[in-house]
């Protein structure tokens, strides 16, 4: 979308232009000049993008037989029309149901019945003067921005920029960090340290299921991160030796407002991506996919990033209800705002209730590639993984992986806000995540919806840590050029002391070829 088209949509072009000017300021460094749209609301503006969801449709209208005409005697023409309209179907049901309901009622009762439906439809709609047009904040507060203001560097003793190890023993022994990696607190640190991967927490706590997925998740994952930072046996690689990885701390969020948190998360993720480092965001609820991907689009350009969405839910809800973001909406909002094309979305692991034919038809229409558990049931995981990785590698596209841990079976990840049985195993998850991070061009990753309080065994936190490790492994493989299809170390995947599978020589040769000179 260009500035011009935004102005056409805006009620007050002057205000809109001012907004554009203001909003352009923080993004002038962007590599791609398509970042011109006002991306967020300042002041008390309305949401600047279209809010009509074309998928929200009434059912078709019905015809009523003449036999019920006497029952409709007291209705005005408008009321009669309403009863037959699509809008009335959610109350009165099909033509047969409607006829049956009419027959049970007197004409007076019919009139009251229809008026009640009309009232509900009208009352459900936003009405100026009656309903709040937005969620007001206390703009008089002298501490309005206290939640997100960053600590001036000068408050702490001077140090050189760069990753800062917290421990006394070769970096170990300090407070827990992701993977026991050094911390970085600013873009300056990332640049000075030539950081490859910055892991950051975003403790957003507004999911619709069991809440409290936020604050505890980012901290507990740091406690359970010995696995995250270790070496990998499948590829025989140690990510921390190949990549410079840092703990970038937590992003400030406002846990009373998802909408308000979005822009700040986006800013910090953008700050990471701008340096060329890969942001790995630990949630927090899945609303975070929106600012994460939007930030990547800010840096790499609109419609230049593809997304793989691992989830038991498709998270492309929108438009029916009053809010513009929650953990069920990020996919649609990203598409609606033009950050990602629908056709650049790949969905993996869907199996929740709630999706009807129209949802799947919509995905097909916009070219979204979906790989539901139903497909896995037909084809098996191996085939689906191959297909997903192939799709994700097309045209060397830049890829963001959004991993909702409820894609895992609750046996592996019971500690999540909205678990759905029948999901992936850890073995499948580790394989697909490692392969994607190794074989495709990953520029961002998030892991969301971890909710440690629901799992006193800490298993879910441990598994989440290993999902991140699988991606770190893949990224290290990618950097080392181990990007062939489903690479595994020929040394660790086969003992090769006999010819049991008939391919002993292949493994011996491959091992020999990988030998480093000093060995």
């Amino acid at each position: 979308m260009t500035i011009d088209s935004f102005e056409l949509r805006a009620a007050k072009p002057v205000v809109a232009t001012t907004m554009v000017a203001i909003l352009l300021a923080p993004v002038t460094w962007a590599q791609d000049d398509t970042v011109q749209t006002p991306e967020y609301v300042v002041g008390e503006q309305a949401y600047p993008f279209d809010t009509n969801d074309p998928r929200v449709k009434d059912k078709p209208p019905i015809e009523l037989p003449d036999s019920v005409a006497p029952k409709l005697n007291l209705l005005t023409a408008e009321e009669s029309e309403f009863l037959k309209s699509g809008a009335a179907r959610r109350f009165a049901g099909s033509a047969e149901d409607t006829v049956e309901a009419l027959e049970e009622r007197t004409p007076e009762e019919v009139k009251a019945w229809v008026n009640a439906m009309q009232d509900v439809v009208a009352n459900n709609r936003y009405t100026e003067g009656r309903d709040l047009p937005n969620i007001p904040l206390n703009t008089e507060s002298p501490r309005f921005n206290a939640w997100r203001l960053q600590r001036p560097r000068s408050m702490d003793p001077e140090r050189e920029p760069g990753p800062l190890p917290l421990g006394r023993y070769g970096g170990y022994g300090g407070p827990p960090t992701f993977g026991r990696f050094a911390i970085a607190l600013s873009q300056e640190d990332l640049v000075a340290g030539e950081v490859d991967v910055a892991i950051l927490g975003a403790p957003l706590n507004m999911g619709s299921g069991w809440r409290d997925s936020g604050a505890q998740a980012t901290i507990d994952l740091r406690l359970f991160s010995w696995g995250m930072g270790g070496s990998d046996q499948y590829a025989l690689i140690k990510p921390s030796e190949v990549l410079t990885i840092v703990d970038y701390g937590d992003v400030a969020v406002d846990n009373s407002s998802t909408e308000r948190s979005m822009q700040h998360v986006r800013k910090i993720v953008r700050e990471v991506a701008e340096t060329g480092a890969i942001p790995m965001i630990v949630g927090g609820d899945h609303s975070l996919e929106y600012p994460n991907v939007a930030a990547l689009a800010d840096v790499y350009g609109k419609e230049k990033v593809s997304v793989i969405h691992f989830d038991s839910h498709y998270d492309a809800w929108w438009g029916e209800e009053s809010h513009l973001i929650n953990h069920g909406y990020p996919v649609y909002r990203l598409i609606n705002e033009g950050h990602v094309r629908g056709a650049d979305y790949i969905q993996v692991g869907l199996r929740s209730g709630g999706l009807d034919k129209s949802a799947f038809n919509w995905m097909r229409e916009i070219g979204m590639r979906y790989h539901n558990m139903a497909e896995v049931e037909v084809r098996g995981w191996d085939a689906v993984i191959d297909r997903v990785v192939a799709e994700a590698s097309e045209e060397g596209r830049k890829l963001h992986i959004s991993f909702d841990i409820d894609v895992l079976d609750p046996a592996f990840a019971v500690a999540t806000g909205t678990p759905v049985p029948g999901g992936m195993t850890m073995r499948e998850a580790i394989t697909i995540v490692r392969r994607l991070c190794a074989e495709t061009n990953v520029v961002g990753f998030d892991l969301v919806e971890l909710h440690p309080a629901l799992d006193p065994t800490y298993k879910t936190t441990l598994n989440s840590s290993y999902i991140i490790k699988a991606c770190l492994t893949g990224l290290a493989m990618n950097k080392e050029g181990l990007t062939t299809v489903h690479y595994l170390s020929p040394l660790s995947s086969e003992h090769a002391t006999d010819d049991y599978y008939g391919d002993q020589q292949k493994y011996l040769d491959a091992t020999e070829a990988e030998k480093e000179p000093e060995e």
């Binding site: 001012t18 203001i22 967020y40 609301v41 300042v42 002041g43 008390e44 949401y47 809010t51 109350f91 009762e109 009251a112 019945w113 009640a116 009232d119 509900v120 009352n123 459900n124 709609r125 936003y126 309903d131 709040l132 047009p133 937005n134 969620i135 007001p136 904040l137 206390n138 703009t139 507060s141 002298p142 501490r143 309005f144 921005n145 206290a146 203001l149 001036p152 000068s154 408050m155 619709s208 069991w210 809440r211 409290d212 604050a215 406002d254 846990n255 009373s256 407002s257 909408e259 308000r260 929108w318 438009g319 029916e320 209800e321 009053s322 809010h323 513009l324 309080a453 629901l454 006193p456």
Partner: protein, 464 residues
């Protein structure tokens, strides 16, 4: 004029100004730049000096640290440090050209108000006569569907009127607490543990025999916005109270105290009843960036005159928000507060006496509210805003029972119990005990008994 001399002049002027400025009043007393640090401060310009000496800086940095910085930084370091703090301070407040002042909504949404639309009568599927009804198949045994205390169910105000209902227990599952969340599961967890409506050990009154009690279901909330929840809950509480029933509200986080009390005040009148509020947290945040939250609930009630400060009693304060400024503000509002420090110092018996005297002297009617954080974590580990060293469950229930028996109760609310945090469900049992304490109190009053009455059979086995 060279820069050296400008600097010198500035320094002299600044020093002079600094000496003239009166010491700064802070929450902990006065602060003024110690004499030995004035030389260091002389490198700052007027604006910087004013920022430091006005005390504005103390919001960002404790005076101990400030004095350390003044004493140890060189001129450049000090100047850039103060500049950083000043730009930080400048960004604290709202700027309509930089900050979102209100979160936008989808005004085109077909179901914009979905969360607050009770089904109109003509659209209800089943026709029945108004009145509370049982969900149980058997006369004595309960059969599955959990209700508060196994009570009958009522859905509409006409049910309350037809049943001449005394007490309507209602869930308000808002889940936006500022501590750990899951209070939204509170109402159903309390329904699922059948320990409400137990007889009163002191008077042997059975609350469900003495009173007409119903489970009035739960009021719906907008799970993404407390702001959008408040009006609906206020309306529904007012409607409930308007039938003559006492609303007993089960949260939900403590932001729901605001619509709970406000709804009752809409029916009974603002300032016509006192508020007895048990909580570890003062909930009187005056400068919050939101318009409603648990931390602001009591502030809003006092600020809007819904309850009078002089008729508000707070018990059990000890949370992280209790500081001298807050207590000073409560004093200025004439709130009768009783902190854990007072309870430790004087003993609970003494504080209970004092509190009950305050209740006696107060208005005829009271709204009793309990944020479960008031109870010690040993007995209430599922408190969303948990704080160590709290009151014993028995002390809390005893105080509540007495007040509910001694006064006309216009409303009751228990908030912020997050069941997920307590695998043993002891917190649910104790939450039910808190609710039951008031229910029993109301029953004792209805039975015409003195609050202190003890049934002789309960007091003594009578054997010689």
């Amino acid at each position: 004029m060279n820069s050296q001399s400008i600097l010198t002049r500035c320094a002299l002027v600044t020093l002079f100004l600094a000496l003239l400025l009166p010491p700064v009043e802070t929450a902990f007393g006065q602060w003024s730049a110690p004499d030995e640090l004035r030389t260091q401060m002389s490198v700052l310009n007027d604006e910087q000096t004013e920022f430091i000496t006005s005390g504005a800086v103390l919001e960002f940095i404790p005076e101990r640290q400030l004095e350390h910085e003044l004493a140890t930084r060189d001129a450049d370091g000090l100047r850039s440090f103060v500049d950083d703090l000043m730009s930080f301070a400048a960004e604290m407040s709202y700027d309509p050209e930089r900050d979102m002042g209100a979160a936008p909504l989808n005004l085109n949404a077909r179901s914009f108000n979905n969360s607050a639309l009770p089904t109109p009568a003509p659209l209800r599927e089943l026709k029945r006569e108004p009145g509370p009804f049982s969900v149980h198949r058997y006369l004595f045994a309960q059969s599955g569907v959990p209700t508060f205390g196994g009570a009958k169910v009522a859905i509409w105000p006409e049910d309350l009127v037809a049943g001449n209902v005394d007490v309507a227990i209602i869930g308000v599952p808002n889940n936006m607490g500022s501590g750990r969340r899951d209070a939204g599961s509170g109402p159903n967890a309390m329904r699922a543990m059948d320990t409400i409506a137990t007889p009163d050990m002191q008077s042997l009154v059975k609350p469900l025999e003495a009173l007409s009690v119903v489970d009035y279901g739960s009021f719906t909330i907008d799970y993404m916005s407390t702001e959008r929840t408040v009006d609906h809950v206020t309306d529904m509480v007012a409607e409930t109270a308007g039938t003559g029933a006492i609303p007993m509200l089960v949260g939900g986080d403590t932001s729901m105290l605001y619509p709970g009390v406000k709804g009752v005040a809409r029916t009974h009148g603002m300032g016509t009843f006192g508020l007895l509020h048990f909580s570890a947290h003062p909930d009187t945040e005056r400068f919050g960036d939101h318009t409603i939250s648990d931390r602001q609930a009591l502030f809003l009630l006092l600020d809007q005159g819904i309850v009078e400060g002089s008729e508000t009693i707070q018990v059990g304060l000890r949370g992280p928000a209790v500081d001298a400024e807050t207590l000073q503000w409560l004093r200025s509002k004439e709130v009768r507060y009783h902190t854990m420090a007072e309870i430790r110092q004087r003993g609970f018996e003494e504080v209970l006496k004092r509190m009950l005297r305050e209740v006696d002297k107060g208005p005829d009617a009271f709204f009793v509210s309990v944020d479960v954080s008031v109870i010690d974590p040993a007995e209430m580990v599922a408190a969303g805003r948990i704080t160590s060293n709290g009151m014993r469950i028995e002390d809390v229930t005893r105080a509540i029972r007495h007040v509910c028996a001694a006064k006309d109760i216009v409303g009751f609310e228990i908030t912020d119990m997050a069941p997920m945090l307590d695998l043993s469900r002891l917190s649910v049992i104790h939450s039910n005990a808190v609710l039951n304490a008031c229910l029993v109190g109301i029953a004792v009053r209805k039975a015409g008994l003195d609050p202190d009455y003890v049934h002789p059979l309960a007091l003594d086995h009578g054997q010689r």
